[in-house]
């Protein structure tokens, strides 16, 4: 590193970039931004009807799975990506077992509502009554896992979280009466509500209402996380992520804020699980495999870790791409392309990591941190 008393004039690198769509968006007055946001939200609400758009519609919608179901899948993946983004993207904690919280949310709901549950005689609750309890359990699980482990750093934390998710899955497979392994829980009730025609809003034939419910939850989560990110909490996370020791020297209570990130991430993951259980009506231990965690993490990193728009895009893509491949067979072995999804993902992720390591919609700060770490690895 060269230092001179008078540093050579540098290309002025402004902190808030000016280029691209985001630069444009950032310069607009509040009302323009509000309108753009509302239009985007309106388009998202209309997504179930995308197939009706001439020409491009049929290209977008899925074939091997009905489009509203695919949209619902996207909604809970986006939710998971948003939650994991708080843990990985904001606080910088590598969590490889995020599916554990999704599982706890889903199992919590099932245990309280399903007829197959040991607790059924005492509970037999509605989905809406079970949801807050399941979420509280998930958040508590986040705190219990986080309390002893958040003193660990980097790789160690990753291993512990990985183990945590596996423990949940293994407990589920090996307790035939409690978490019921492969047999799982049936008859998990759907969310409440009746339409004008007297039929329940949340039925079994059309997933559209579930997608809208998921979308509503996503909007609430985005607003909540955005507020946190702009507060002192977000600033503390940022400091911890960029330099944990320096953060501590500034007076940031690092363990406490890491625990907060973990608990909030767990809560959002649990939300995904509660929604999932309510839509499917059935869950078993096969759902909560390791690949699930890895996939969501890949989504967050691919979209742009530390940036909510990136996490949303990444979450949607990891769900949409495989679903879109369903029902299309390859010309050689005539296997459904869906079966190749992990191989295809592997390639896509490698390409993105080579061409755009900071993600599709990167966080500017993150990009700067990456650059800074490169310097550490290879000092000039």
């Amino acid at each position: 590193m060269s230092d001179t008393a008078v540093a050579p004039p540098k290309a002025k690198q402004n902190f808030r970039g000016n280029g691209g769509v985001r630069g444009w968006f950032g310069r607009q007055p509040t009302w323009v931004r509000a309108i753009v946001t509302l239009v985007a939200l309106g388009l998202a609400i209309l997504l179930p009807y995308a197939g009706d758009v001439p020409l491009i519609g049929p290209q977008i919608v899925t074939q091997g799975i009905d489009w509203p179901s695919s949209l619902f899948n996207m909604s809970y993946y986006v939710l998971l990506a948003l939650g994991l983004n708080v843990v990985v993207g904001y606080a910088g904690l590598l969590d490889l077992g995020y599916v554990g919280f999704f599982a706890i949310g889903a199992y919590g709901t099932a245990l309280l509502t399903s007829r197959d549950s040991l607790l059924y005689a005492h509970s037999g609750w509605s989905w809406l009554a079970a949801a807050p309890v399941a979420l509280a359990i998930t958040m508590a699980a986040g705190l219990i896992l986080g309390w002893p482990t958040l003193r660990l750093r980097g790789d160690y934390l990753a291993i512990v979280t990985l183990g945590f998710a596996e423990i949940i899955r293994i407990v589920a497979t090996s307790t035939p009466n409690f978490l019921r392994g492969d047999r799982g829980f049936t008859n998990i009730p759907h969310p409440p509500g009746q339409g004008a025609d007297g039929k329940p809003i949340f039925g079994v034939t059309d997933a559209t209402p579930y997608f809208w419910l998921g979308l509503a939850v996503i909007v609430v989560v985005i607003l909540g996380v955005r507020n946190l990110d702009r507060s002192r909490v977000g600033r503390s996370w940022l400091a911890i992520r960029e330099d944990e020791e320096a953060a501590e020297i500034m007076g940031v209570r690092t363990t406490r804020f890491k625990l907060w990130a973990f608990a909030i991430g767990a809560f959002i993951g649990g939300l995904g699980g509660v929604l999932f259980a309510g839509e499917q009506g059935f869950i078993n231990s096969q759902t909560f495999v390791l690949q699930f965690s890895i996939l969501v993490l890949a989504g967050v990193v691919m979209g742009g870790s530390g940036n909510m728009a990136g996490a949303i895009l990444g979450g949607a893509l990891i769900s949409y791409i495989p679903d879109r491949l369903r029902g299309i067979s390859d010309p050689f072995f005539h296997t459904d392309l869906y079966e190749y999804r992990f191989a295809i993902f592997g390639v896509v992720i490698i390409v993105i990591m080579v061409l755009r390591p900071q993600g599709l919609i990167p966080s500017r700060r993150r990009a700067m941190e990456l650059k800074d770490r490169e310097k550490e690895v290879a000092p000039l």
Binding site: D3, F15, E248, M368
Partner: protein, 236 residues
């Protein structure tokens, strides 16, 4: 005494880094801690700021024992550190880095006042206000680290190797500013490998060798001590 370490020992796992260190810093002083790599200089700093718990001994600040106190509470009491390797937040702007220094404070008017003070001490920081920390040169990062440490309005400023990796001219400049900060009323404890500069600027100094204090005296005394000259000043 503003700061008193009494018989402080500290271990990383099984490796004993400090073997019963005692030192003191009086209000208004600049005290230097010199020694070779691995002598325990940075470890002493980390013990004072609370990054590592001490295994034995006591640290008294402003008359009270702080050796068991959480790091954030030590900041509130008035201990502030500019860490080894600067510890700049690379993705935050210069302004945001400085604001982080005032993390434990609430009074906006006072914070703004201190921000202006830092900008006066380091005019370059004002020029770079909106630039992110990671894009600064080494010297600028050092200025930012010192400025950031001042933002908590400390009674005691801990500086860990402020001259590391800097060109000779910049080292002069940084030390001039340290003296200026001290004259404005902040007590300074500084760790240095650049013994020449440190000893000529400090009121008093300690020499640290493998976790023990082997010598102490005024800066001038140590600067002319043959053993110190031999070991740390690179002159025979």
């Amino acid at each position: 005494m503003l700061l008193e370490l009494e018989n402080v020992s500290l271990a990383y796992g099984r490796i004993q880094a400090l073997h019963g260190i005692s030192l003191s810093v009086a209000q208004g002083e600049i005290v230097a801690l010199i020694g070779a790599n691995g002598a325990g200089k940075s470890t002493t700093m980390r013990a004072i700021s609370g990054l590592r718990p001490v295994s034995e001994g006591s640290i008294r600040f402003d008359g009270q024992d702080i050796s068991k106190l959480r790091a954030d509470l030590r900041v509130i009491r008035g201990v502030s550190q500019s860490p080894e390797g600067r510890g700049i937040f690379p993705g935050m702007s210069v302004r945001e880095n400085l604001e982080m220094g005032a993390y434990t404070r609430k009074n906006r008017a006072e914070i703004d006042e201190d921000l202006q003070r830092v900008f006066t001490l380091f005019p370059r920081m004002r020029e770079r206000e909106k630039q992110s920390g990671g894009t600064l040169s080494g010297g600028e990062q050092q200025m930012l680290a010192v400025g950031r440490a001042l933002m908590s309005r400390p009674k005691l400023l801990l500086l860990d190797e402020p001259s590391m990796g800097l060109a000779p001219m910049l080292i002069q400049q940084i030390f001039d500013i340290i003296v200026e900060i001290n004259q404005q009323g902040t007590t300074v404890l500084l760790v240095e490998q650049n013994a020449q500069q440190a000893l000529s600027r400090a009121h008093r100094a300690y020499v640290l060798e493998t976790g023990r204090i082997v010598k102490e005296g005024t800066g001038a005394e140590l600067l002319h001590d043959p053993a110190v000259k031999d070991a740390y000043l690179g002159v025979a």
